[in-house]
């Protein structure tokens, strides 16, 4: 953004901060120069990603890397499947029937052991550097920027995440849209306050025309660029309204809601399913399941949230999602990722019957999107305390940067790209270019 264009009527500091939207609806830096480091060839097997954020940090031992030991509840019913997979039939009854599609990375590790920092890392694939935190975009915004805003649905959707990192400097249409996950859908797609839908729409059209007419002089001669930018968004928002296809994405029926478990995570994954199947612009969908911070009484059924409820809710929702996407033929082009911000303490439970924060080992589960299921990559030792076998060409623990690079690669995105023109002026690398770690996709997942 150099000073080459004439200014219409002066401008404010805010123009520089936000107002680049005036140039284009595609966000402040849609046309910014992007450079690729090595000219790699991404795998490109998926067109969308559903990212299930196990907020609070899921215990590897109680999810995808179970170990035999006295810490397991009596009814855990841990079973072995081909490819080295193990699952508790009590926790994951549905996924137990889908192990041919499931891939578990067991040699993952986290950089962080505090929730806020860990969540930040997982959402952005970058550390929470105080100098840069505010401009670091969510990986979903990067995906949105790469895949473009091609349909009527905004490319980046997010559910149930209160501390979601947004698009930051990528701006505009790559901002996450955070719609409700409810049977009724998005209430603001219509203006149904006056009789039936047709009457209401007519009334809305009249209102909108009145607004436009009254605003015409000021839109023609805005007092500055920020005002001009704001005025340019009305029509785009209106385009999403009263559109059956858009509306249907955010709605679902009671039968499906029940099939997905009548839970928050279930409803969110239902909308995610709709969005993926609609092929109308959505490319990255974050769905957060909260409650995984199981420090206390994690098998104590007297408590509201336990490993039982968490795993069962997740199992039912993800299992139904996999079934539905398979039925509609979208499974192979939709990458599903299940991960939390770090692992939990291994072996025996703590003195309060739970598990605490743990960095050295965590598990990540992948399904669909062209990965090869029915397998595990890497392994941990007998108590899931240390990584026993890295199981991939990196020959070190798999970090969130590698996972993200894998997601980017699956989606056909060159993960070595970077953007020079950032607000801070510091180059933004899609994946941090570290000579020490050489972060890269875990290509073994596609194998």
């Amino acid at each position: 953004m150099k000073f080459t264009r004439p200014l219409c009527a002066g401008h404010t500091r805010r123009h520089f901060l936000f107002g680049a939207a005036s140039a284009s609806l595609l966000g402040a830096h849609a046309d910014a120069e992007v450079t690729s480091l090595r000219g790699v060839t991404p795998h490109g097997s998926a067109r969308a990603c559903i990212f299930v954020n196990l907020n609070g940090a899921a215990s590897q031992m109680d999810t995808f890397d179970p170990k035999d030991g006295a810490w397991n509840p009596r009814d855990a019913d841990i079973r072995d499947y081909s490819g080295g997979l193990r699952l508790s039939n009590r926790f994951f009854p549905k996924l137990s029937t889908l192990t041919n599609d499931l891939l578990v990375l067991r040699s993952c590790a986290s950089w962080e052991a505090a929730h806020e920092r860990g969540q930040f890392y997982m959402q952005t694939a970058h550390s929470q550097n105080p100098a840069l935190a505010a401009e670091m975009p969510h990986i979903g915004a990067v995906v949105a920027r790469e895949k473009g805003a091609s349909g009527l649905i905004p490319p980046f959707l997010s559910f149930n995440q209160s501390n979601l990192q947004g698009a930051t400097f990528l701006g505009g249409l790559f901002q996450p849209m955070m719609p409700p996950a409810a049977r009724a859908g998005i209430s603001t797609l219509t203006h149904n306050f006056f009789g039936n839908a047709t009457q209401s729409q007519e009334r809305f059209e009249r209102r909108f025309q009145l607004l436009k007419d009254l605003d015409e002089p000021i839109r023609q001669a805005p007092y500055n660029d920020a005002m001009a930018a704001y005025g340019s968004y009305y029509e785009r928002a209106k385009a999403m309204m009263y559109n059956q296809a858009v509306d249907a994405v955010f709605k679902f029926d009671a039968t499906d809601e029940g099939r997905y478990g009548n839970t928050t995570v279930g409803r969110s994954l239902l909308v995610a399913r709709n969005a993926v199947r609609a092929r109308n612009g959505a490319t990255f969908i974050n769905v957060t399941q909260s409650g995984w911070d199981t420090h206390v009484g994690q098998f104590d059924t007297a408590q509201g949230t336990t490993i039982y409820t968490l795993t069962n809710q997740l199992d039912r929702a993800v299992g139904s999602l996999v079934e539905d996407l398979k039925a509609s033929g979208d499974f192979d082009s939709t990458l599903i990722v299940l991960m939390g911000e770090f692992g939990r303490t291994p072996g025996v439970l703590n003195s309060r019957g739970g598990r605490d924060h743990y960095r050295p080992v965590m598990s990540v589960a992948l399904l669909g999107g062209g990965i090869r299921g029915g397998r595990t990559i890497g392994s941990s030792d007998a108590t899931a305390a240390n990584i026993a076998d890295y199981g991939w060409s990196g020959n070190r623990a798999i970090y969130v940067e590698d996972i993200t690079a894998t997601i980017y690669s699956a989606l056909g995105i060159d993960w070595t790209k970077s953007i020079a023109d950032t607000p801070s002026g510091r180059r933004y690398d899609y994946i941090v270019q570290s000579p020490e770690y050489a972060f890269r996709p875990v290509n073994e997942v596609f194998g």
């Binding site: 200014l7 805010r14 550097n129 505010a134 905004p154 203006h191 007092y223 920020a226 928002a237």
Partner: protein, 608 residues
């Protein structure tokens, strides 16, 4: 005197820096925003020079009494820059209400002001607004947004947050001298739940990293907020070979100088535990040792986010003037030295100036470059002077100091000036160079809080809100202690989050438009209900549409009132005609349509 022992050899710094995966080297393309602001300063300077040496006749400047005007208008006259016309009463009324109280005037207040024939009615209005509790709310929100003490942070609970907020608000309502407030904050020690000011340190403490990261983060926050310059860059590496295109002053500052600044905090430590009895609530104590100093030694298994530090012992030294500790109480000494430094007053008045005028005199107000602030020592090359009105800024700093660091006199001085009261519409050819002449008023989008507070004022749909632990009745968003509130009222939090208030932690305040945001403002039920002429809806049972509709007035008068209550101005003839042509059905119906349209109008959404 710099002890060479403490200085990292440049090569070593570069090496360490290159190995750090989290802080890529500054590229050739530097801060886009800063470049544009530089460009403004540069164009201002070039314009001024051109005129000074050119043929343009200088205008005779009329005598002005306000010191702001004496400087600004003299400069405009000297350079033959024409200012925008003076603001109309309606323009001034709305602007000063929004800036001083965070919301538009009620139509009654607006009518009374416009009808008042007194020549000094603007001064009277300013005094009245400055005396209001809404002013205290608004200025508290302004500073709270800089300190960012929120219970979303893992060190701060509801009780600690409220302790801080109530202390801040009472201080500001009483117009406590700002230097004394800052001194108390910087030396505060004790439990975060009960001792005001400790929350500032708890907020910038990094619970996961080494203590040095907490000292360093807090030091950057202190220099940024109180002295007007960010030091985060030199908290990792020397300025040289990094900041040449960003900040000349910082290129001559080293990481070890930063450590000496950070060392003022190095006797401070935290005790942190979870109070199991009350649901893992964080408890933190901020305290100081009577011995010790800054050391670079960190636990190698938890080195934090910054490149390795030297293991040397570093003693405190104030980065601007070399002052050293006088006692063993380093934080207390730090607060005294910092608030006594003239830069503290300069940076503070510049913050307030930037709020009222949309650009700082030094811009951006958190990136002072002291190599470019003194016109008697001009910077090399084509660097512009950053301080475009140095004499004015010094005069304002003097004024602030002479008025005992109190904000009310400063605000009165600034908003009483003819410069503040210029129109935002410029007659003639506007040029970028005029921005730093402050030749017209620069509009800004309403903040999330201002938008909510203006919405409920316009539509007459105020509803009580609850913020946990605060017993005062709350009606307005600028009365909320942090962005988690009102936690149980999603009608309000949805609105504020949609409007971009951020969370003071990971999500920045945002003002850019978004599709969902506009869908929300146009179609959200709660929003639209405020403008419906339907008395069965609780939210609108006494709302503006019903109030106006039930008045025995003509349609023209009803339209006029509707414009007045929402836009604080009467409609133009064309606007009246358009609305008259729009009428159909019941009056409550089309008035409701009009209310909806006005609430989505650009001149409602902006403070102009």
């Amino acid at each position: 005197m710099i002890n060479a022992r403490y200085l990292l050899p440049a090569a070593l710094t570069a090496n360490l820096f290159a190995a750090d995966p989290h802080c890529p080297r500054y590229p050739d393309a530097v801060r886009a925003e800063q470049i544009e602001l530089l460009e403004l300063d540069r164009s201002y300077q070039a314009y001024s020079r051109r005129v000074q040496f050119g043929v343009a006749a200088r205008r005779q400047e009329t005598a002005r009494t306000n010191l702001v005007d004496q400087h600004l208008f003299a400069k405009m006259a000297a350079d033959n820059v024409r200012s925008a016309p003076a603001s109309s009463d309606t323009e001034f009324l709305r602007r000063v209400h929004l800036d001083l109280t965070g919301r538009i005037p009620t139509p009654e207040a607006a009518e009374a002001f416009l009808a008042d024939p007194a020549p000094d009615k603007r001064a009277k209005l300013i005094d009245q607004l400055l005396a209001s509790s809404a002013y205290a709310d608004q200025l508290t929100t302004f500073w709270a947004n800089k300190f960012k003490v929120t219970r979303t942070h893992e060190n701060i609970g509801t009780i600690g947050r409220n302790t801080f907020y109530e202390w801040l608000r009472q201080s500001i309502a009483a117009d406590r001298p700002y230097d004394s407030l800052v001194r108390e904050m910087l030396s505060a020690s004790g439990e975060v739940d009960s001792v005001p000011g400790t929350q500032f340190f708890a907020r910038w403490m990094d619970p996961a990293g080494p203590i040095q990261d907490s000292w360093d983060d807090t030091t950057d926050k202190i220099t940024t907020t109180f002295l007007g310059f960010k030091t985060e860059c030199i908290s990792c590496h020397n300025g040289r070979a990094h900041l040449e295109k960003i900040n000349l002053y910082l290129t001559r500052r080293t990481r070890s100088q930063f450590w000496r600044m950070s060392a003022w905090l190095s006797r401070m430590y935290f005790v942190r535990w979870s109070d199991d009895n009350i649901g893992f609530r964080p408890r933190v104590i901020v305290n100081d040792r009577t011995y010790g100093s800054y050391t670079g030694s960190v636990n190698p298994s938890n080195p934090g986010n910054r490149p390795a530090r030297l293991g040397a012992i570093v003693e405190p030294e104030f980065i601007l003037n070399g002052a050293k500790p006088r006692t063993g109480e380093w934080r207390r000494d730090f607060g005294s030295i910092l608030t006594a430094d003239r830069q503290f007053a300069r940076a503070t008045v510049n913050h307030i100036w930037a709020y009222l005028f949309s650009h700082g005199i030094v811009d951006p107000p958190e990136a002072w470059d002291f190599e470019r602030t003194d016109p008697k020592r001009p910077p090399p090359g084509d660097w512009p002077i950053q301080n475009t009105h140095p004499e004015l800024l010094e005069a304002l700093a003097d004024f602030f100091i002479q008025n005992n660091y109190q904000f009310r006199p400063l605000f009165r001085l600034l908003v009483s000036s003819d410069a503040y009261q210029l129109s935002s519409r410029y007659e003639g050819q506007w040029q970028p160079a005029f921005v730093k002449y402050f030749a017209k008023h620069e509009p800004r989008r309403l903040s999330a809080e201002e938008m909510y507070d203006s919405l409920i004022t316009a539509t007459r749909t105020e509803q009580p809100m609850i913020a946990s632990g605060i017993s005062r009745p709350l009606l307005y968003a600028n009365q909320l202690p942090d962005p988690t509130e009102p936690a149980t009222d999603f009608r309000v939090t949805d609105f504020l989050n949609q409007a971009g208030r951020g969370n003071w932690l990971t999500i920045d305040r945002a003002g850019e438009p978004s599709i969902l945001g506009l869908l929300y403002s146009m179609n959200d039920t709660q929003n639209v209900n405020r403008s419906l002429g339907n008395s069965t809806l609780a939210v609108s049972s006494r709302n503006r549409v019903l109030q106006i509709d039930s008045s025995p007035v003509s349609d023209e008068e009803a339209i006029r009132r509707m414009f007045f209550s929402t836009l604080s101005r009467p409609p133009s003839e064309a606007e009246t005609a358009r609305v008259l042509a729009y009428r159909s059905g019941l009056r409550a119906q089309w008035l409701s349509d009009l209310q909806w349209a006005l609430l989505n109008k650009l001149d409602f959404i902006f403070n102009y």
